[in-house]
Structure formats: structure tokens, C-alpha cells
Symmetry: C2
Subunit: 77 residues, 2 copies
């Protein structure tokens, strides 16, 4: 893993957090994945430990769940 991955699902809470994360750590240091459109990456996100979105998976493998937007069950539905 070469950079952090920010997973979201397009909800308003997610978009707000996305802007904050990009301005905090820099666009070049984070990949943005919208699970609402990239549903094929849901398995990867869950394997990384995602319980809800938005969340940031760090290079060291740690997961930071940010302001609660939606559970992974909602994203899969």
C-alpha cells in the first residue's frame, strides 16, 4: 500500500469529510474510493476493516473511522 485510501459512499457527511481529509493530508497522499459507484471494491474495504463510511485506511493498515455517515450494511444494500 503506497498511500492512504479514503472510502466513502457519496453521502453529505462523506463529502464533507473528504474535503477535510484532502486539505489535511494532501490530495497526492490519499486515494479516494466511492463505494456507491465502485461496488467491486466493497470486499477490499471490508477486508481492510471498514465498519462504516467515511473511513481512512492508513499505510500502516490502521483504519480511522470518521464522522459516521453510513454502515457498510447500508453501503451494500
Amino acid at each position: 500500500m503506497t498511500k492512504a485510501i479514503f472510502y466513502h459512499a457519496g453521502c453529505p457527511v462523506c463529502i464533507s469529510a473528504e474535503h477535510d481529509v484532502i486539505s489535511l493530508i494532501g490530495e497526492e497522499k490519499v486515494e479516494i474510493v466511492n463505494l456507491a459507484t465502485a461496488k467491486h471494491r466493497i470486499d477490499e474495504a471490508e477486508a481492510a476493516g471498514l465498519k462504516s463510511v467515511p473511513a481512512l485506511v492508513l499505510k500502516n493498515g490502521n483504519v480511522l473511522h470518521l464522522n459516521f455517515g453510513a454502515s457498510m450494511e447500508d453501503v451494500k444494500a
Copy 2:
């Protein structure tokens, strides 16, 4: 507000998130406040919108609540 403020309360979830936040955004860009020891700053944290710790209050005033550690009610108790 000249830099972000990371509020925590000394719990293991908080400490882990603290390390992650510092490595993400850089120690010089964030003030660390332990509300368990700096109880006089609880009012300020709540006024900023903190509902739980750990949380990061950004320069733009947005609050990012990270992996849930403890509610503010627990911190005040």
C-alpha cells in the same frame, strides 16, 4: 485558530489515533489536548462541537470524530 487540535482522553483508542493523526498530518500542525488531565479545556472542546473522543477540530472549525473511544459524558464523569 492556527492549527488543528486533537482532543483525546488517554484511552487506548485515543492513543492509537493520536499516533496515526500525527504521522498523517505532522506534529507541527496539530495541538494535542488530553481532556483527562486538562479538564479545564472540556468546555472549549464541547463548544467546538466535540461529541466524543478522540476527535480532531480543524482550522476551518469542522470536527472529525475518529474511531469512537469515549463520549464526552464519560470524559466529564
